[in-house]
Symmetry: C2
Subunit: 108 residues, 2 copies
């Protein structure tokens, strides 16, 4: 039950082109047959469907997810980012800023 790129595309709502792109971005990595054909198993199919939901429901961009992945592997980076955010939290009250952002959106 391993699908080739076209079939995997058909069953997940992505295009074959995008499946190749997602691999290039390191987000969904199918194994390959000896001849080089991509093979998508159950795990990958679920990843692909979940990815669409993430985008649709939470407005997460592919680059965002790629960055989150990077954060998870690179402890050094994670520490730096966390430190920055902690300092920012400490400081600015983005709560009211968020309020204003909301108002800006309503005005549009």
């Amino acid at each position: 039950m391993e699908l080739t790129v076209g079939d995997a595309a058909a069953r997940t709502g992505w295009s074959a082109r995008m499946l190749r792109y997602l691999e290039e971005q390191g987000l969904v990595l199918p194994r390959r047959t000896r001849a080089g054909y991509r093979l998508y198993g159950l795990g990958e199919l679920n990843q692909l469907r979940a990815l669409r939901r993430l985008r649709a429901r939470h407005g997460v961009e592919l680059s965002d997810l790629a960055f989150a992945a990077r954060l998870r592997r690179d402890a050094d980076l994670r520490a730096a980012v966390d430190a920055w955010l902690a300092a920012a939290d400490d400081h600015g009250s983005w709560i009211e800023w968020e309020q204003r952002k909301h108002e800006r959106l309503l005005a549009a």
Copy 2:
């Protein structure tokens, strides 16, 4: 010891334009004088300098940081992203993929 936007820019290596942009993105939020002038204190100045280091040393984009901030506040989103990444980790061996990416870069 609170600086107006031009001075803060001069001392942090950003342009005044970018300081306004960073505020718009919710990354560095100065307080305001009654007349609406931005005021940057020590905390903000440090944030600004740290932000430049993050970009220079780790190649972090502003949008990446904005997303990380979003992750930190929105527990729902964080759970969704974490779940996705965990499944992905479980699965694909991005280690060798990372290897290939590296090779691609060397070839350029």
